[in-house]
Symmetry: C2
Subunit: 477 residues, 2 copies
């Protein structure tokens, strides 16, 4: 920490986050505190102002005794000009401990010590403490100032840091595979085409061939893993899905990890579970900084519910069952309470099936060894008609991680690609890894927005990314 | 560290990086070591094998006494089948300290303990210890296995971790602004258009309007900073440049940071310098893990040169001069030794000017306060005809960071946009920040590949990204 600061020869402006850390050894006075007005109350003898600054879910309480400094009785007093949303500078204040209250201190100052830095129009959108999520979403330039969506952004940042720590400590190299690619290698979904503006005009091609936005970095990640042993990435991926649900985004961030020398899918599930639990542990450790004190009306889970989920996630080893066992369970259930889709060996699990399984176990559940025709061409074949893969499904959300051991035998891979009618020559670069010191390897992919939204108790993954992109008019800014 | 491991109920395969950490308290024997054959020598009485595993620049020395275990005299002995590039499993070996040598230990084992996991063809590309960079680049699926380019990937990962640590410790929130945007807000370069494949077919539009890949996330980052106070991102950006130089990529990763309550450009330069120096310090601390022991023939700098640069970067505060002062210096120089382009107040600095300035000071140099017409519309106007901005230029490379204080006054911003003939209504969402609790703020952007390449002593930024994209046939995989 000290080394981090040492190259900065001046103090950055004080953040509220850093202020709250001073509680054990508070200063007498504090200068130049800056933030935005969250709310205020002007009483006869005293004024209370709650400031926020975006670095913590907690507001800073400012107290202004009106009988001490009387300027505020004048009509032009700063206090009378206060509006929610204004940016404010408090030049000088007294630190007053308030150990019996929820917030352990407040700052006492005089109206003369204020300066309004930036005004707001009378129509400023975030007037109330409580807004609905729908209302917040309709104000994309202001919504992150709300307690809830601001907290969600800070939460995502913390999850990213924790993931970095996890992969660092396990000797993974973070890499940046390409976003622009030459094809839909996975057949994972609808593609976005890319062409330079000026080449569009003269009907030529910037890259000399059709170019797409990546749907998954996995194939390139395998190239890197076969050189660096273990690697991971967190990168935007793109799917031009027409389905406009609260579980899908056209632009989303995907964590993908790939490592050599893992031979069975059980090991992979243990690594995914360890990663997941480490992040949860880091969230619990920082809960007071992470969980919002104010939530939108309606749809958002409260802090207790979220915390209870985190705690229960760490309590046990998560169940594992094969796809075949899952189909058996689902078939039994279907006989009692029918699903919309009949569970059937050989068909992919439907969202309703996944959700029922996770709620049945009341836990994240690993489903392993799907039929080969439900999954991608690169997965390692088991001795039967299944592949060495897993999906991690969680209550409410469904699938959140998918992974597999990769086919590391050249002939087997080419045979499977041919069976599927794929153009083998286009992926020869990928297949060739199996001829050049091939090793058993595998990995998994995690949708960041699903992960963040689910952990945080948000029900729409669009809230887990600052500005979401999906079919239709989502791109106005 | 212990908490990181605690959720993993089995040991991941041993990496060489973790093996080298055991030197102070080595085990007697070690099981199941896996890697790729870098080189080998079969002598009469002993065989030496160098293995690499991609987690460190150091190779692991395996010694096989041939008079102890004699199986290798047989024509089918594993030792006789060894080839560079094969993947190998060493099932069991004795740890032998070799304190007098460069590598402080070696593993002694018998041929019976080997297993070749993956073969290589006779044409395996990476036969020699030394290859030219041009040769490596022509083998994109194997090049990261070379000592030099593998080290460059690990170096980049370390730089990213260090940046995460720096921004975490200064209360920045990491965010993910959108990659798909509706326009070229900066006028920063040629754009890439994006459309879904199926909408291209029926000539409709997936998003309902023209959509582009982002050239900079800054405008969205300002929205987030005005809610979260300080934020940063590391995201891919795209410019369809036609110039095909070793300083330009069509797809590159950009670090952008934005923070509220900074009012002058001097403070911004101090933050950029502190960030830069913190990363350098973290590199020095891990030099033995980061610097490659083997370099390609020709163009790559040796470890001593790189380390000397790192050390000198920390030794002093970097010079700062205004654009006007820079023009004066350049004009003087031009009178003695003419540049290709005449330095002239009001024109942007040319690459040759930047490089001369940096070499003149033999240090990174901050150039501040450029004429307003050289820079983007959103920069804060100084009292004269300049804007409160800076470029950081470094020897050899030229510009590596650019930043500014942003115009936080609504009327001034709109006036400047109108003066430039911009469509004000398309950026009203951006301008509106200045009406809703506006605060002084600023930030900067750093091209990751330039940063990584320059620190590492690589002369072509294409080597600093795993698979580069630029005009022409760069997208074959």
């Amino acid at each position: 920490m000290s080394s981090v600061k040492s190259y900065l020869p001046f103090n950055l402006p004080t953040t509220f986050k850093s202020l709250f850390k001073l509680i054990d050894d508070p200063p007498e006075r504090i200068q130049n505190v800056r933030g935005w007005v969250k709310s205020f109350r002007l009483l006869k003898k005293v004024a209370f102002i709650d400031l926020q600054d975006g670095t913590t879910p907690h507001t800073l309480k400012i107290v202004v005794p009106r009988d001490t400094i009387d300027v505020e009785r004048r009509p032009d007093s700063v206090l009378r000009q206060l509006r929610t949303g204004q940016s404010l500078l408090v030049k000088d204040a007294l630190w007053k401990p308030t150990p019996t209250r929820l917030q352990p201190f407040e700052l006492e100052t005089s109206a003369a010590s204020f300066q309004i830095m930036g005004q707001v129009p009378d129509s400023y959108a975030l007037q109330k403490k409580f807004h609905t999520l729908a209302f917040l979403r309709s104000n994309p330039t202001l919504k992150h100032r709300s307690n809830y969506l601001g907290a969600l952004m800070r939460f995502r940042s913390h999850v990213e840091s924790s993931l970095t720590q996890f992969f660092d400590s396990h000797d993974f190299t973070k890499v940046s595979p390409p976003i622009l690619t030459s094809g839909d290698c996975e057949g994972a979904g609808e593609l976005f085409r890319v062409e330079s503006n000026s080449h569009l005009a003269n009907k030529s091609s910037y890259f000399g061939k059709k170019t797409y936005l990546t749907v998954s970095t996995q194939l390139h990640l395998e190239v890197l893993a076969c050189a660096l042993n273990r690697c991971w990435t967190l990168a935007p991926c793109f799917r031009a899905e027409e389905s406009d649900t609260n579980r899908h985004l056209s632009e989303f961030w995907m964590l993908e990890a790939e490592l050599c020398f893992v031979e069975n899918v059980g090991e992979l599930t243990l690594i995914a579970e360890a990663m997941f639990k480490f992040v949860v542990e880091q969230c619990i450790a920082r809960q007071a900084d992470l969980l919002p004190s104010i939530r939108p009306e309606g749809s958002a889970e409260d802090a207790q519910t979220v915390l209870a989920r985190w705690t229960s996630l760490l309590a046990t080893a998560w169940p594992r069952l094969t796809y075949s066992a899952a189909i058996e369970l689902l078939t039994k259930r279907h006989a009692e309470v029918p699903f919309k889709f009949t569970p059937q060996w050989g068909s992919d699990l439907q969202s309703e099936h996944e959700k029922w399984l996770a709620s049945h176990f009341d836990s994240p559940v690993f489903i392993t060894n799907y039929p080969k025709d439900c999954k991608a061409f690169y997965m390692k074949r088991n001795l039967d008609d299944t592949v060495a893969c897993f999906d991690l499904i969680v209550p409410q959300m469904g699938e959140i991680i998918g992974g597999s051991i990769r086919e590391d035998n050249y002939d087997a891979l080419i045979a499977e690609m041919s069976r599927r009618g794929m153009k083998v020559e286009e992926l020869e670069w990928y297949a060739s890894l199996r001829k050049n010191g091939s090793v058993p390897h595998g990995g998994f992919g995690l949708g960041m927005e699903r992960f963040v939204a689910w952990l945080f108790g948000a029900h729409n993954i669009r809230d887990a990314i600052p500005f979401h992109r999906s079919a239709g008019g989502s791109i106005d800014m």
